[in-house]
């Protein structure tokens, strides 16, 4: 348990250093826009994440004060939904679809290739900060299975052996 606690604390420390204090002021317009109701929390967090790329403790605390929502509630929401992340991301997020249709058509082979060749597993970021790999449950583009999104681009009908070639195109 102690080890685990230490690990959790370390992560928080790391992310505090990443965002300078003055940058947190960027959150003010979001706070102003969404003040008044807890029901605006998810859209507010979404915008904050678009701004910083992730939601470190600093950001959550600031939102907590601004929106007058208890910090544990915000932390609870952030950790519940897979869309939100507390740790920084790579420059490109690879969203590999592991939905049924993609799975049947070879997404598993693609995952194995990425793990082997890029060296990152699901949820991890490569050391050079280039890629973060996410497994998603159906992108709703089953007609093009197997599907992989890199950033905003959707790549469909991928032959597993071509996976690396597509990824290499993103610096």
């Amino acid at each position: 348990m102690q080890e685990r606690d230490a690990l959790l604390k370390k992560k928080v420390q790391d992310s505090v250093e990443q965002i300078p204090r003055d940058k947190l002021e960027l959150l003010d317009p979001i706070i102003e826009k969404y003040q008044g109701s807890t029901s605006y929390l998810i859209p507010a967090l979404k915008e904050a994440q678009e701004m910083f790329g992730y939601l470190p403790m600093e950001v959550q605390r600031k939102l907590s004060k601004g929106l007058n929502i208890p910090a544990p509630h915000i932390y609870g929401v952030v950790t519940f939904y897979s869309f939100f992340t507390i740790t920084p991301r790579g420059r490109h997020t690879i969203r590999l679809c592991l939905g049924t249709a993609c799975y049947v058509k070879g997404a598993k082979e693609m995952l194995e290739i990425i793990v082997r060749e890029i060296g990152i597993n699901v949820g991890e970021t490569s050391k050079d900060g280039r890629f973060t790999l996410e497994a998603v449950r159906c992108l709703g583009a089953c007609g093009l299975a197997p599907v992989m999104m890199i950033g905003e681009d959707t790549h469909g009908n991928i032959i597993p052996s071509a996976t690396l070639g597509i990824i290499e195109g993103y610096q």
Binding site: F83, T100, A101, Y103, V104, C138, L144
Partner: protein, 598 residues
């Protein structure tokens, strides 16, 4: 609008997510360039429509008034289409749909089996209107249903009409929509809410996405009708975060409807106030459950609560709330306009109307289809879906996503409606049909779905949170060769416990994929456990690949495609697999045209 020019031809381009990913926006630019170059921009109109449904063949272009259907159009084909079809009036043979059975090309959209056998109610505007243009929706009887309800009917009559229609919830549960509304109307506690569930999380399902992207107004109209019926003045659409295009189009549709006075205060001068807001999701499968979804709109963790009280009594912010699926709402305009009896004349005795299915997996025509209830599974897969590609055999169809089950070979004549599917151990779910061929291992598939449910379990109640984990570990043991006698019985017992003791609908059905694969493919489980062999050659720890010498035609396809150089091959010699290098990735099997590797 009187200033708009007369168009000789219209080019309908699919702008659904599938076709955009295949490059339809580039094709559109190419058309614009080419038409301007030849000074045809005032004669030929380009319309970007919602999802056409035939996603695998994208980008799709349909030229009206004839309805000529071109598939897999690339920007470089565009000058040719303009030259041949638009200018000379000749159909461009090579881009037409190729019918494998008839061994020919089919020029007209209506003659293609995939489209011909469908009956469109929910998808009535599919490929015909510009999703972002409210006038085109109105021109196709849009908002006429709302107008009829507001001007000619009382809220009670609206509910009565929906009850007559026999419409049942399209989200999976199949609860009669009219009864749901009636119950919600009974409570005299205001404000009330009506919610559209657009959190389509089932892997393999994309019908709701297609409706929200392709015909957003039909959802808004259905919600307004339900608001009038139950007495709600505010509606919410909960859309999952993975569908940015749907959110964007719904937002535009809401603004347009407001500016036309079809949403907002005093709609059509009838004193009915109704407005809609979008509540975006943030990636949690469990939020498709009604109470979890409401918590999520309230800005909390989306965890289901125990019912009763039902949402109709105490839902969003503890107020009476009605929640329906996207597809359910899209059915309402035709029901109000044509009457409940018309709708009830379609379908089977207990399941009325049509159902949209997302047909995916190992099937030739992947896409979105709408068929009357009671259509057989085989008709869906073989007549509309065009059968299994690569001459492989049909093995099973998975219906209902992670809550559903498999329907094996030999039972494909089952009629698709709520009751018959439950009878064979599957369920309607939201309507995702994933076809599996003989290359799919059922144990591995069951493990995949269990893994999904383990990840997506909210963790509130123990049977789902812990039981599924144990189930997953057991399945992992089996596919990795550590299976023991008695494992299957253990899985069956555990599965029944999970299904019987979980709180919410997701937990109650989470063991279905395992139970149904055991029911129909027990022999495959036994092969994994007793013989330590995977009959479908999927599980890497239980297979050894080798070349069958008699069948090998020495073509070298396996050699060329092997990613780990494990195949030894020379011209005119039978290939040979170096087992120390083989990673069992199956690339060679997939590429061998002669079935010479096993």
């Amino acid at each position: 609008m009187c200033a708009s020019p007369y168009y000789r031809l219209q080019i309908m381009m699919c702008a659904g997510t599938g076709c955009i990913a295949s490059g339809s926006l580039d094709v559109r630019q190419a058309f614009e360039r080419e038409l301007t170059k030849r000074n045809l921009q005032n004669e030929v109109q380009i319309v970007m429509t919602g999802c056409n449904g035939f996603c695998a063949m994208g980008p799709l272009v349909v030229v009206y008034p004839d309805g000529v259907f071109y598939n897999q159009v690339k920007p470089e084909h565009v000058p040719l289409i303009v030259e041949e079809h638009i200018l000379k009036g000749r159909v461009l043979e090579k881009l037409l749909f190729k019918d494998e059975k008839a061994k020919g090309r089919v020029p007209l959209m209506k003659d293609i089996g995939f489209f011909g056998l469908q009956r469109l109610i929910v998808l009535r505007n599919r490929g015909l209107i510009d999703a972002e243009n409210i006038d085109e929706y109105i021109a196709r009887d849009g908002y006429a249903g709302l107008a009829k309800a507001l001007t000619e009917m009382t809220p009670e009559q609206v509910i009565e009409e929906v009850k007559t229609s026999g419409l049942r919830g399209r989200g999976g549960g199949g609860f009669p929509t009219g009864l749901k509304w009636e119950e919600c109307r009974r409570y005299d506690n205001f404000p009330k809410y009506t919610i559209c569930n657009g959190d389509e999380g089932d892997p393999g399902a994309f019908m709701d996405r297609s409706v929200m992207e392709g015909d957003p107004h039909s959802v808004l109209e259905g919600m307004a009708i339900s608001g009038y019926g139950i007495g709600a003045e505010q509606g919410y659409i909960y859309v999952r975060a993975e569908y940015p295009l749907a959110i964007q189009r719904l937002q535009k549709a809401i603004e347009d409807a407001r500016s036309y006075g079809l949403l907002g205060r005093n709609i059509l001068g009838k004193g009915f106030d109704f407005d809609i807001a979008i509540a975006p999701g943030a990636g949690a499968f469990v939020c498709g459950e009604s109470t979890a979804l409401m918590y999520s709109i309230e800005g909390r963790r989306g965890m289901p609560r125990i019912k009763p009280p039902r949402s109709a009594e105490a839902g969003l912010w503890n107020q009476p709330t009605n929640l329906n699926n996207v597809e359910t709402f899209a059915n309402l305009n035709p029901i109000i306009l044509n009457g409940g009896e018309w709708f009830a004349s379609i379908g089977t005795e207990n399941s009325k109307g049509t159902k949209v299915f997302a047909l995916t997996g190992a099937v030739t025509n992947v896409g979105l289809v709408e068929v009357p209830m009671g259509t057989t599974l085989s008709s869906l897969i073989f007549d509309i879906g065009g059968g299994i590609p690569k001459k492989r055999k049909f093995k099973a169809a998975q219906i209902g996503g992670p809550s559903g089950g498999c329907i094996p070979l030999g039972m494909e004549d089952v009629e698709i409606d709520y009751e018959s599917l439950q009878g064979v151990g599957a369920m309607m779910g939201s309507g995702g049909v994933v076809v599996m061929d003989e290359m799919t291992c059922m144990v591995d598939t069951a493990r995949f779905f269990t893994n999904f449910s383990v990840d997506e379990s909210c963790g509130k109640c123990t049977p789902c949170r812990e039981g599924l984990k144990v189930m997953f570990d057991k399945l992992t043991d089996i596919v990795e060769g550590r299976g023991q006698e008695g494992d299957v019985e253990f899985l069956i017992e555990l599965g029944h416990h999970i299904n019987n003791t979980s709180h919410c609908g997701l937990g109650k059905s989470a063991a279905n994929p395992v139970l149904s694969t055991i029911r129909y493919f027990r022999d495959e489980y036994d092969a994994h456990i007793r013989d330590k062999h995977c009959p479908a050659l999927v599980c890497p720890d239980l297979i050894d690949f080798e070349v069958i010498e008699e069948k090998c035609k020495m073509c070298g396809m396996c050699f060329k495609n092997c990613p780990s150089n494990a195949i030894v091959w020379e011209k005119k010699k039978v290939a040979w697999i170096d087992k120390s290098k083989c990673t069992r990735c199956r690339t060679c099997i997939m590429n061998c045209k002669f079935g010479a590797i096993r």
